[in-house]
């Protein structure tokens, strides 16, 4: 079933399907399978990144030699090394996007519409990388390699934008999920403790619950603001926008941590 989520083979056609298969899988995939798939992908990613680093070093050296020597043999070596580095980069990016996809499928606390849109974007991004990767099925010459470079320049920015958008969604989803659970837990605790203890203790608890509710209210407002910020940047989600968003997310996290701390304290009152 996961094979439909994460195509292991290079697909020649750009994935532009309006309803990705992943959405159907989302409801039925069990958490354990996704966790196992995520572990596998992360292991694969580490290996591919290591390989990329090795090939990138070779590309840098070969290019430097070609620039200095300007001979046919140094050109051939540089073309081969450049192609190898570009291929390795595609593999790294494809696996990374797949990791984001599984992480997004697993993550709760994200609005369904946003999640579906982000999954679709990820499918398109993966399709773009796979299409670009097809260019390297045969050995390229200098001119063809230049064309491949230009092709990647067109998709590289989009891949980054999609990735940072998904990272933002994941970060917000994690906090939203904690907020949702904290709200339910706080409410349950309030119900259970409504008749517990004497009047003095009850009034102390009431004040503590009031303070916790105020903190939860702050978190809700902050989360809405962050969501709005993400929507505003939707059209062109860049790295800088993500960094900006992360600052606000840190603020939400701090207040949410206080809520959890309050709830832990309430247990002892």
């Amino acid at each position: 079933m996961l094979a439909t989520v994460l195509p292991s083979t290079i697909n020649a056609q750009e994935s532009t399907a309006t309803t990705p298969a992943v959405l159907a899988v989302d409801a039925t995939s069990d958490t354990q399978s996704l966790s196992a798939e995520l572990r596998r992908l992360k292991t694969q990613y580490r290996g591919e990144l290591e390989e990329y680093r090795r090939l990138e070093s070779q590309y840098v050296v070969a290019k430097q030699q070609y620039v200095q020597l300007q001979t046919l043999s140094s050109l051939e070596a540089a073309v081969r090394a450049t192609q190898a580095a570009m291929e390795a980069r595609d593999r790294v990016l494809r696996t990374y996007l797949q990791i984001l996809k599984v992480s997004l499928l697993q993550q709760t606390g994200i609005e369904v519409g946003q999640k579906e849109a982000a999954l679709l974007e990820l499918d398109i991004a993966i399709g773009r990388v796979e299409k670009h990767h097809l260019l390297f099925e045969k050995e390229l010459d200098k001119v063809a390699l230049a064309a491949a470079t230009t092709d990647f320049e067109e998709i590289g920015g989009k891949i980054e934008d999609t990735s940072y958008k998904v990272l933002s969604l994941l970060a917000i989803g994690k906090l939203q999920s904690v907020y949702d659970k904290a709200t339910v837990l706080g409410s349950d605790m309030k119900t259970v403790l409504a008749t517990e203890g004497g009047a003095l203790k009850q009034s102390q608890r009431q004040r503590a619950f009031d303070e916790t509710d105020r903190a939860l209210g702050d978190v809700k407002t902050q989360l809405q603001a962050v969501q709005q910020q993400l929507t505003d940047h939707d059209a062109n989600q860049s790295k800088s926008a993500y960094e900006e968003l992360k600052d606000d997310i840190r603020g939400v996290y701090t207040r949410l941590a206080q809520v959890v701390s309050f709830l832990k304290e309430l247990v002892t009152i």
Partner: protein, 120 residues
């Protein structure tokens, strides 16, 4: 007969340096000296007591670590009615740790997005 003898000189004016210098008798030094002051003994005893107190305090502090804010201690009394919520709180806390935005577990790959053979 009395020539050369100054009769105007008093006996008391006899030069002192001519008196015999008393020589320490080795037998006298072996005699028991005066009892020494007990001050160093008191200082030493005081130092030992202070040292023992420091060690005792250090051991006591080691047995009872200072609780950090937000940290649960074994001595924390949980309301009986709240017992069932402890597990949920623990899970919530774990989830909160995982949501820490400073821990970026999926950073964008550190790859060169501008690989090219052309000179830049």
């Amino acid at each position: 007969m009395m020539e050369g003898y100054d009769q105007t000189q008093f006996i008391a004016e006899e030069p002192l340096y001519e008196k015999p210098v008393p020589v320490a008798n080795p037998q006298q030094s072996e005699q028991p000296s005066k009892p020494k002051s007990r001050l160093p003994l008191f200082i030493g005893a005081g130092a030992v007591v202070v040292l023992l107190m420091i060690i005792a305090l250090a051991l006591a502090a080691r047995r009872q670590p200072i609780a950090q804010p937000g940290e649960e201690t074994s001595s924390e009394q949980v309301s009986p009615a709240m017992g069932p919520f402890k597990q949920q709180l623990s899970e919530l806390n774990q989830q909160l740790q995982a949501a820490d935005p400073t821990k970026e577990d999926l950073p964008f790959p550190p790859v060169d997005m501008h690989i090219t053979l052309q000179e830049k």
